[in-house]
Amino acid sequence: MANHNIPEVKANWEETSGVWGMSIDMDVCSGCQACVAACAMENNIAFVGEEDSGYGRSLHWLRVEHTFEGEYPEVEATPFQPIGCQQCGHAPCEPVCPVFASVHSKNEDLNLQVYNRCVGTRYCANNCPYVARVFNMRDYERPEPLPNQFNPDVTVRRRGIMEKCTFCIQRIHQGQDKAKADGRELLDGEVVPACAQACPADAIVFGRLDDPESKVSKLSKAGRGVKLIEELGTLPRVTFLEEEKTYGRTG
């Protein structure tokens, strides 16, 4: 790869471990959708209504996948699997945006979507192999009492804009600011994104991947860890812990 010396717009596409990462334990995920709801509340995600949602336009940054494998009658359900942006180290969405709305942050090693730069070509969404991106098809109205709970730290998006999981970057920054004000290093587990906070089974663990002692690093490197379609070379930062069926769920 030739010239990636533009730090503002390109990740250094080397095999680094990444900065922030997440591990999701599919063994304990019960598919309760609390993460999806918490994510929508935290990130001011618009409420699209039944009709648009049924047509595949729901704006959830996370979706809990649950499908079935095999031919009838030997059908086996796959485990619940919350899938959002994998925060690729080598993200396919970034180079295809003609206006630099989809960019890589060097400090956090995250894929950022600059809402007010987006012109809505939707190329990033087509090129995302995880189908993680969602598009604001309309200016959706928020029914009462949803307008009363906007998160002031997150931009409210208008129509024509692509959005996706940010790893709750506003919480990362709050945690970092607090640690800096206290004159200390950020503690492991101090920054918790909304989905991890809401998970009743603690299936979602978030933390720094560049700290080998963090919980998420250890979990990611444990034997059960898999990454989604990593054969595409996207360097995803989310690790799924494969199911061992130790918690009673049978096929």
Partner: protein
């Protein structure tokens, strides 16, 4: 027109020979008329309008206002939700139309530049009719891209210009290449349309009055027909004919890279560049044939300029390009199928057996079976109605091909949980709006600029002559161009 000395009288042999009479009737180049008469014929074709013309134009204008004006405004103010896109089918009919119209626009350059470079003499009377399609087709392609954008009011951010944000477009993005390529093509094809138009505009200026005279006086740029002006014009046209060809190939190749550069099953195909170029010619040449048939039937004096020989030549081109398209389609399919990737395999099955599988079959039938079964036959190629029908079906099939590549392929990705179908919404009126705008612009332009490049026809007729060797009449050509 210094080069074209008035020597057409020398062609007026008394016709003694059946074969010779037949040759003259068949070939425009061997059937010269006096220059003044021919100029008058073109002027008459341009200035004659019947009530039918205005009725059709008014109808199209209404369609444009409703379908383009109203529905586009509605979509801009309420968001792309009124179109049919969803997750994961983020690109729909707007991009289908973009690729389709760029394909249509290819034929103009192909006919005028490539056939000029290869000195195919049959091109002369209809190069301008084809180039007009290029320009107006590109207008529709550009409009379709703007319709496709989520925030079209910010589309100028795709342009590289110095701004207070200190940002340039992302030149890593195929869409940025696309933007530049289409703009380059629009500019160069408009210039290439305009240059051979100058002598004809000067001709029209000298033969018209009123607003037309004022218009042509400005547009003709003071062309008087001096030796120096002709030399400059010829030099520029030759230069452009060669220079515009790589631009033409690059445009559709770059459009194909929008798809081929993406990491999607069915899209990341290395053959997409030439496959798209051939597909563009497939629909474009058919569209040229259709337009010529309509022009010939509806405009005055056009039966003299556009003859069965031209339809015959276009029909042959259509047949050859249909064969090339079939080869590239097979190549694309074979390599993807042979690859054995699970998702590509699923996608290929979805193309054939999915809810729009009929489209896939219709594409193969109209793109391959129909041209191959008919166009080998000279009498079918020379029959305007038949050729129009074949061209229509080929264009429908090529639109289907782009539909299969864009929304149908987007239905399938690596996460079966997200699969969706695509139901078009305001895309349908907007598509008809672009079609109506194309026809309307073409109709109006056909009455404002001379649709036949008279000086090119006269030049060709000067160069051609029938010579008798014994009892045999032989067509001879002297090269006037260099």
């Amino acid at each position: 027109m210094a080069v074209l000395a008035d020597s057409t009288k020398s062609f007026a042999h008394p016709i003694e020979h059946d074969h010779e009479a037949h040759l003259r009737e068949e070939h425009l180049m061997l059937d010269p008329r006096p220059r003044g008469e021919m100029n008058a014929m073109v002027m008459e074709a341009m200035t004659t309008t019947s009530w039918k013309f205005w009725a059709v134009a008014a109808f199209l204008a209404v369609v444009v206002v409703i379908c383009l004006g109203y529905y586009w405004g509605y979509m801009i103010t309420s968001g792309l939700g009124v179109a049919g896109i969803n997750r994961p089918i983020y690109w729909g009919i707007f991009l289908v139309n973009t690729v389709f119209w760029i394909g249509i626009s290819h034929a103009g350059t192909f006919v005028s530049a490539l056939l000029k470079v290869f000195k195919a003499e049959f091109r002369r009377p209809f190069t301008r009719a084809a180039e007009l399609m290029t320009t107006f087709g590109l207008v529709q392609a550009g409009l379709s891209i703007f319709m496709h954008m989520g925030r079209v009011w910010l589309s100028y951010w795709l342009m590289p210009y110095p701004n207070e944000r200190g940002l340039w477009p992302n030149f890593h993005s195929p869409l940025a290449w696309d933007f530049l390529a289409i703009n380059t093509y629009l500019l160069s094809s408009t210039m290439y349309l305009f240059m051979p138009l100058i002598p004809d505009l000067a001709m029209a200026r000298d033969r018209s009055t009123g607003w037309r005279k004022s218009l042509y006086r400005v547009l003709a740029l003071g062309f008087r027909g001096t030796e120096g002006e002709w030399a400059h014009l010829r030099f520029a046209m030759n230069l452009f004919a060669f220079a515009i060809l790589p631009v033409m190939f690059s445009v559709h190749t770059i459009v194909s890279w929008d798809f081929a550069a993406a990491m999607r099953p069915g899209w990341s195909s290395t053959i997409f560049g030439p496959y798209f170029v051939i597909g563009a010619l497939q629909s474009g040449i058919s569209a040229v044939a259709m337009v010529l048939i309509v022009v010939r039937a509806t405009m005055k004096n056009m039966k003299y300029f556009i003859r069965p020989e031209h339809l015959d030549a276009l029909g042959k081109l259509m047949l050859i390009i249909s064969m090339a398209w079939a080869y590239f389609f097979f190549n694309d399919y074979l390599v993807q199928w042979y690859n054995g990737d699970k998702w590509t395999d699923l996608l290929l099955h979805f193309h054939e057996e999915g809810p729009v599988g009929w489209m896939w079959l219709a594409m193969l039938f109209f793109n391959i079976a129909v041209p191959w079964a008919t166009l080998w036959n000279k009498s079918i190629r020379r029959n305007p109605t038949a050729l129009f029908a074949i061209g229509f079906f080929v264009n429908v099939a090529m639109w289907f091909e782009r539909y299969i590549i864009v929304p149908t392929s987007l239905s399938i990705n690596r996460f079966p949980f997200t699969y969706q179908f695509y139901k078009p919404g305001v895309e349908i009126p907007l598509s008809f709006g672009t079609l109506a705008l194309f026809i309307l612009l073409y109709m109006l332009a056909s009455r404002i600029i001379p649709l036949v490049p008279v000086w090119e026809v006269q030049e060709g007729q000067m160069a051609h002559s029938l010579k008798k060797f014994g009892n045999e009449s032989i067509i001879t050509i002297s090269d006037l161009e260099e």
